[in-house]
Subunit: 193 residues, 2 copies
DNA sequence: ACAGCCATGTAACTCGTTACATGATTAC
DNA sequence: GTAATCATGTAACGAGTTACATGGCTGT
């Protein structure tokens, strides 16, 4: 039926199921705010070409108006789009998450460099995690008030809470690794503790 | 200096820093066993083409012998390879992990389908997590005995422990989401509890 | 006036995948 | 003998990226 659309296409469709119609630019912003934490935030260029494809397939309706002197196109999901999205959700196994964890990859081969480098990498990661936690916390706050069962942000809130816990856990893991690395420092010239 | 190699290239270099020399086939197996949990397990074809590139760059030494009637090529990391790996580890910011979490993506737009579908998806995920935990536990067991500071599997063990915790946390998150979904059932025709 | 944001796209390119192809060795 | 595993590749393709290009609108 619907010839296969990349997952990112469905992600865009999904972002448009919250009632409003958005421009490509706004989709990017929304993706940066939420989607990026557990899916990729696509490049602008990809968003535009994906929007093109979805519109051609009739899954989105383009609403081109001219706002002042410039052309602005907003997109809304169509009936067909909602059907396609649902068909995908119900008919495709979700599959296991793919994790591209450069920090873990490098930790794995930590023996190939000095402990100090690995330590620094983990510290950097912890700092970045903190920033991500801040961002996501702010997102979570923005969902309050409409996050109960039956309310529009119910599912986004579930996901945000999941994400917050995930980042918190990553922080703990990084710190545990740091602590474990510290045990090596013993033979390093410094006194332990 | 070394014109950029994709991260997967460094991952392969990294797999070859444990002392032995491996064939492409064996690299794939090792990747399936460990790398796949926090990095992608590359397709065979990519491994071979990556091996080709790394060899051309002098970062790997190919050892082609004929084992019986068939051509078998083993690869070992060279001095230059170790230098390149280390340069990469020390000179490139690790960057934030990229997560492609289809389950979370679909949970986010859970309102676009029936609760039962979402519930089933989460149950499937929990089952897959259990399988992954089993696999990784077995890997972890295989590292015992050489996982103390200074020993060869020190870092792989750190990473495996991290991964085990991560999968356990994911299981908890999925179960929490399931529990929270259960609360919707209330308005569903059934009596609460 | 000028920077920064809003807004939309094209072109070139690379990573990585699937499908295809081949053949030898090992286990049952 | 035949299926599974070992072993190595080629070809076509697609998703997604970076770099480039354009231009209007907004705040200072």
């Amino acid at each position: 039926m619907s010839q296969d659309i990349p997952v990112t296409g469905y992600a865009i469709l999904g972002l448009l199921t919250f009632g409003d119609e958005l421009t490509g630019y706004e989709i990017k912003q929304r993706a940066d705010m939420t989607l990026r934490f557990y899916w990729v935030s696509p490049a602008m260029s990809q968003i535009y070409s994906e929007l093109r494809r979805l519109t051609d397939l009739g899954l989105l309706a383009a609403d081109a108006r001219s706002d002042g002197g410039r052309e602005v196109t907003s997109y809304a999901i169509t009936e067909a789009g909602q059907a396609a999205l649902r068909e995908w959700m119900d008919g495709t196994p979700a599959g296991f998450p793919v994790l591209k964890h450069t920090v873990l990859l490098r930790l794995l081969i930590g023996h190939a460099t000095q402990p100090e480098q690995t330590r620094q990498m983990l510290l950097d990661y912890v700092a970045e995690l903190e920033a991500a936690l801040d961002d996501l916390t702010r997102v979570r706050e923005g969902l309050r008030g409409a996050d109960r069962p039956g309310e529009p942000f119910r599912f986004p809130s579930l996901v945000a809470d999941w994400g917050l816990d995930y980042f918190a856990a990553e922080t703990r893991h990084a710190q545990r690794a740091l602590a474990s690395l510290g045990e090596t420092e013993v033979g390093d010239g410094r006194r332990p503790e």
